[in-house]
Subunit: 356 residues, 2 copies
């Protein structure tokens, strides 16, 4: 899509909240940097993007996003290395995916140059918010919402694309136990499960609350038809280590094509870790657990990079996983983070420098 | 839930847009009355509801509704009779349903007295917007959105409940042809299809756009597992008339329990029209159409009351329905509307007067 890239409007904030922000005591997703990117779609085209002070947006209560959930988002991170260089990790994947998600929700394609120019400019302006140190990062949230002021159930004619940024520390969520879903589902065949569609997330809150009452922190979703195959968690793809073999479900129209997931698959191949991308049945995982062959389970996603899972529950039974010394989870986490923080060779061209 | 009902705050608009509004040339859902109801949830409780001039709301870009689609809504109508009395139709059903939807999305229950007192007060204040005349009405849109300013994927701690109202004329959508879905799905078993969850609607836009390119106005969704059974349309439950028998799918966790649908079933029983509530297969409907036994198809929902369907498509084949003189569609529409407009006996206690 051709767009005039010279025209990014910038209105700088006259003050900064950075001084008053405790960057060593961050709760994920609560604090935002001084600026944000905003770009409106109207009359069939995206208008000039604007960077402006982070602050409230005004919408009519009839705006379609409030009624029909026509909204998609992305999650990515910026990292600062020891030389103050700023890096993104495979940002092209997030750019492509927000448009894949958008297409499924009838949201017009966002132009590539608007995305990259806007994002990079925003990061440069708010670069002081990106903390150095292994584990620290700036979480980046691009999203699109439908803003047309009309409650008829049809695609919006107006949209707002935004990028907001939130400083993040190494993510530690405590010990995570998961429940394999038995009745509730996240996505249907032919549905929107593969999209980062806003509504997919709210749909998981209630079942997750119920799982929490049973002592689990998250749900591993199973296929809606039979509940026999393990798919993914709420915001992470899932890997299983049986013996020395790594298993993960193939992507489909029900499963998000995660950037972390596919990076792990590539690294596994590089380091000769046997990895099978295929349907993983609840039955085989339960059996492997009983036999002591289930060595590890972990989630993979941008926020936590890799989130080890220490136990799972299924049909009223609870299983604890062994505590290993050398885990695949920590191996991949270290490999990935070293690439992200410019501490290791970038063999696949995954790192993307934000030129300052 | 016990709440103090005396405390409804009212701020009246000093001007009215009614003069400048062409009530005889309305597009559905574009124009709103002078006032709206707003009620915020914070610290574990719903605060005092406010009626105030219709206008924009301010939200931070991190508000959860924008990211996770945690939002539910309702659709209902107010009618004015020849004596200027104002009537609602089975409003208790909508009140119950917004909380059923809310529970599935982890949204706290909204109190009954807030709902009814707020709605009735709002209707009284904006009563000039309700036009007399068979077919005219005021469309009422209660909805709840998640407003907590945090992008972590967990239920919001803050919400906003609102009611906005839009004057509506008799709904005529032109000739409607529907496509029976073959690949796309609306809802999963164990999912949120039975809820009026915002995200359910955006998910239908893209498949509906594709159906439009093939000459259909809407999609009749089939079960996600097999696509062999007919479920419902985007905003309407669906009825089929085969010979003199009326068929409609049972409600389930994939199908919205429509107020219009269940009212039609009750009326069918009263008027000795044979009605079967059971799984309706694509196969039997296609066969009935081939044999000339499929006499009618129609959608049932608050916006259109009843929407006759003149044809359908399946696997590349198109079917046109016969043009009958006396249709069930017009029979039920007339019966329902006469009850709604206080022109017929209300045998089931469906009418609800808004005391002025
Ligand atoms: C449903 C879902 N699955 C998996 C992931 C992991 O994807 P990625 O590695 O691209 O962050 C995410 C989060 O982004 C997600 O929302
Ligand atoms: C998905 C869906 N099905 C059916 C209906 C019809 O329900 P009701 O008759 O209560 O308006 C609606 C609209 O309200 C709907 O959104």
């Amino acid at each position: 899509m051709k767009t005039d890239t010279s025209s990014l409007e910038i209105i700088k904030s006259t003050t900064s909240k950075l001084d008053q922000t405790k960057l060593d005591k961050l709760v994920f997703g609560e604090i935002f940097t001084d600026h944000m990117l905003e770009c409106d779609y109207e009359n069939g085209k995206w208008k000039t993007p604007k960077i402006k002070p982070y602050g409230p947006i005004e919408l009519m209560p009839s705006a379609k996003v409030f009624h029909y959930g026509q909204a998609v988002f992305e999650g990515m991170k910026a990292f600062k290395d020891e030389d103050d260089k700023i890096w993104l990790f495979r940002p092209e994947e997030n750019f492509k995916r927000i448009n894949v998600s958008g297409a499924r929700l009838a949201i017009p394609e966002f132009p590539k140059d608007y995305f990259f120019n806007g994002l990079e400019e925003l990061l440069k302006i708010d670069k002081e918010w990106i903390q150095k140190g292994f584990g620290n990062s700036l979480y980046i949230r691009p999203f699109v919402i439908a803003t047309e002021e009309c409650v008829s159930a049809a695609p919006s004619t107006k949209y707002k694309f935004m990028i907001i940024c939130s400083p993040a520390q190494a993510y530690y969520s405590g010990e995570v136990r998961v429940k394999f879903s038995e009745t509730f589902s996240r996505a249907a065949d032919g549905g929107v499960g593969y999209a980062k569609a806003a509504g997919n997330y709210a749909a998981q809150f209630h079942p997750t609350n119920l799982a929490k009452e049973e002592g689990f922190q998250q749900i591993v979703w199973t296929d809606a038809n039979t509940h026999e195959y393990l798919e993914e968690a709420g915001t992470m793809n899932i890997f299983f280590r049986v013996g020395d073999k790594l298993l993960t479900a193939p992507t489909s129209d029900r499963i998000l094509d995660g950037v972390t997931r596919k990076s792990i698959i590539t690294l596994a191949e590089e380091f000769n870790i046997p990895v099978e991308v295929r349907k993983v049945s609840v039955k085989e995982i339960v059996e492997a657990a009983r036999k002591g062959e289930l060595k590890e389970m972990f989630g993979a996603g941008t926020a936590a990079v890799i989130n080890p899972i220490v136990g799972f529950g299924h049909k009223g039974e609870k299983f604890e996983l062994p505590k290993l010394e050398d885990t695949y989870a920590s191996f991949f986490k270290d490999k990935l983070m070293k690439i992200q923080y410019n501490q290791a060779e970038d063999r696949y061209g995954w790192r993307y420098e934000v030129k300052q």
